[in-house]
Symmetry: C2
Subunit: 147 residues, 2 copies
């Protein structure tokens, strides 16, 4: 089992970052504009990336003090059953985001890609919470021949 880890700091209140990772409007502002679902524990979120497909998540935890956890229920085979964990902490003027995408079975090439891609979307989250505008799909930063 191998994990993708990231850390960014947003110069924004924790509540703003929490909203950006828990509301449909927030998620659509930094990850993919095509986000639908119900933001409650046990609820489902569907994230789509045009022809590249997408992911369905079940919300496992939602704690406004600074913890969010999703379980992937549908999407690419490598993603199904993996979990995505968010911890938010205030430090000085920053809200620190500690991100984990846990439970990959093998460190396949697609996992390398997803690690870099998560970094670009986390920087998009930082831009959204600091400047009011992120770079969600389909306006994401170009990183390679893969979406």
């Amino acid at each position: 089992m191998v994990d993708i880890l990231h850390r960014v700091g947003c110069v924004a209140p924790l509540d703003d970052v929490y909203r950006a990772v828990t509301t449909i409007e927030g998620l659509a502002g930094w990850w993919t504009a095509d986000t639908v679902g119900k933001s409650e524990v046990g609820g489902q979120l569907a994230f789509r990336f045009g022809e590249a497909g997408g992911f369905d998540m079940e919300i496992v935890d939602l704690d406004p003090a600074g913890h969010v956890r999703w379980r992937v229920t549908d999407g690419p085979a490598e993603w199904i059953g993996t979990e995505i964990d968010w911890r938010l902490e205030r430090r000085g003027e920053y809200t620190i985001v500690l991100f984990k995408h846990e439970g990959w079975r093998e460190p396949v090439e697609f996992m390398h890609h997803c690690s870099t891609r998560w970094a670009t979307f986390l920087l998009s989250l930082k831009e959204l919470t600091e400047q009011g505008r992120g770079r969600p799909f389909p306006d994401q930063v170009d990183i390679s021949d893969w979406t």
Copy 2:
């Protein structure tokens, strides 16, 4: 043991990407402007980031067909003994870079940071090889309260 993985694709010849990760001038163009050393197997490279310190690497492998490997010999305690592995492959108009920073003992918060930071420097490598100009230290993208 946990690893940092990334994948980027550069619209550039493999030789150009190889030079960017093996010559002092190349490394100074995307990672840190303060790079010195001798680019040969068994040689040492020293990367410095101002007050944040830096890393010393021993070059373990240099294969112009598409493989480079470094061993960290000095720097932050978490980095010493870890290894950084580069594989370059041509695919269509892209040179695909498969990057691993292997052998972390624990998934500490600093590892989360380094994972995101590597992503930004790999995108700097992409910019350098495609557009002739990267974003090495001290001009790197801001990601948090840490350098």
